[in-house]
Symmetry: C2
Subunit: 336 residues, 2 copies
């Protein structure tokens, strides 16, 4: 996978699956029951390491990804974060507060020490020929959760971005620095490459996209390089549509995560020459299986064949996906 | 507006607003209270005509749009449709049924006679220099509601499209024919142009997009032309991202509705030369108002200046928009 991230085309392509350690696996659900809440799960290396290893035992995957959450950064900044079972994360929304207090940046890395301990243990537990991926949420995606206090539609975050531009830009600045330090610490602990999840790149005008996605991501990547990180960085601006080209060309990311609806040929034409593309099978096909999975997976392989490709889904695998469908998919990819 | 639809560039551009007759207007909310349910509202010409005229009295708009709903087509096909106040439409979901019965196509136009009566009255009530827009939902968008029984995410519709391709393709065929007849009848009654709302074009792989969006829309436009309709047709594939180009080039639509996140320059480059573009201010700015509205509206005007442009939002106006912000926007556009 690292060779592909550096620009080499391999056939068959390496494969990993976003959220490959997740609720679709019965052994994950059993493990999850051992931690009292989701953040404790993330902050307990014994459990987090086991979660990462579970899918590697079942499937011939080419990468392991740290088990953590994009909201550990606001948590480390002192914003209270909790998870409502079956609903998702909750924070005290900044939108309701007149004065925003962003917490102490120097607290981030010490607070997240258990996450780096998980990375360290993983680097010795995971086979050397498999990449270990560290990750974080992109500044805008994390900011939307902090502003709204939850996921779902991001109308309130967009509204606040228009109405309180100074506050939002300051928040993005804090997140750039905190996220750079968090990713740097993951690489120091042994991560081979990094992914930045911009899960909420959609629905922004180009003007707002420049301000809240392009500029903060560009500064984040530059800050990582300034900190001495030379690991490849996969940027995944999900839902960016036609703006994916500017993201690929301007932010400095090494590789581009592509969502299901973005044609591979479009991404290839828009990205700098030789940039690795990662994606982009519809996760629903791991629910369906059968002939539809076979046909769409072959089509994805063919669409991305023109350059360096890392096979993945266009979004995370869902809890209702069937493990046997994932096994069939990986068999199909590895047979070529 | 019709001149622009035919390819002329006007400065200032004509303007109308998706859902301009809507809940953000207090007089609309009062009128809505006069009908016992939403479909009765749509099927009562006295009320529907008044709803269309309300925003024209307040604002210097260049077009009126029929007051109706995209779900009148499944209603006319005999699928039970009802609206849950504050939640949206409900139907008996096809996903739960082993055998799909699509109803009687010959029933559609007689059943929807009150809608055409509304169009007839509007054509005499609305000033001749304002375009009267008829509309319908695109086959895939209407199919998603019929399959799922409601709006929201369209995961179930996508799943059924993979798992029951024959059923879904047959449903799309029925919707192509029913929608063509419904749009044809609107033009016969006096509509000057038509808009096809593909509200759920997002999240589809190019392969699925071809099957459920491009092909049915192409057949719908061809069927309209075969029925003798030569009115301009605006296609609005919201969320189609990079696939908007294929939509503009392949479906036969006259003009292209653009959503907020699609750069005007991209749409212009992808669409056939001289095609009118419609869009695409973020509807949130009519909630915010103020400096943000002014700055973004000027930016939209500038971005679209390179060719024929109809000013609109990138999505429907929301119930929390302020009428005075819309007045300010239209003032800004008309002053140039």
């Amino acid at each position: 996978m690292i060779r592909v991230l550096r620009g080499e085309r391999l056939d068959p392509p390496p494969v990993w699956i976003m959220r490959q350690a997740g609720r679709y696996l019965p052994e994950y659900r059993a493990l999850r029951a051992r931690a009292k809440d989701f953040l404790t799960f993330c902050y307990t290396p014994d459990i987090a390491v086991e979660a990462v290893l579970q899918p590697l035992r079942r499937f011939d995957l080419d990468a392991a990804i740290l088990f953590s959450d994009i909201l550990v950064v606001p948590d480390a900044l002192g914003r209270k974060v909790w998870f409502v079972e079956g609903e998702g994360p909750r924070l005290e929304p900044l939108a309701a507060q007149a004065q925003w207090d962003f917490g102490d940046l120097d607290r981030v890395v010490p607070y997240l020490a258990p996450v780096y301990e998980t990375v360290r243990r993983l680097r010795s537990e995971v086979a050397a020929d498999k990449a270990l991926i560290g990750f974080a949420g992109a500044p805008w995606t994390v900011a939307t959760y902090m502003i709204q206090g939850k996921g779902g539609d991001k109308d309130m975050a967009r509204r606040i971005a228009y109405e309180r531009p100074g506050d939002v830009d300051a928040l993005l600045d804090v997140l750039v620095e905190a996220t750079a330090r968090h990713l740097h610490a993951q690489v120091e602990a042994g991560a081979d490459c990094l992914q930045i999840f911009e899960s909420w790149a959609e629905g922004l005008s180009e003007r707002l996209f420049e301000r809240v996605v392009l500029k903060p991501t560009t500064r984040l990547v530059a800050r990582l390089r300034a900190l001495g990180v030379d690991a490849p960085v996969i940027g995944f601006p999900r839902g960016a549509g036609a703006l994916i080209g500017r993201y690929a060309r301007e932010t400095g990311v090494t590789a581009l995560g592509v969502d299901t609806q973005t044609p591979a040929a479009f991404a290839r034409a828009e990205a700098p020459a030789g940039m690795a593309l990662q994606g982009a099978l519809d996760p629903m096909l791991l629910v369906c299986g059968g002939a539809a999975l076979q046909a769409e997976a072959r089509w994805v392989l063919e669409q991305f064949r023109g350059g360096p490709h890392i096979f993945n889904l266009g979004h995370g695998i869902t809890p209702d996906a069937r493990p046997e469908h994932l096994a069939a998919l990986i068999g199909l990819i590895k047979r070529g």
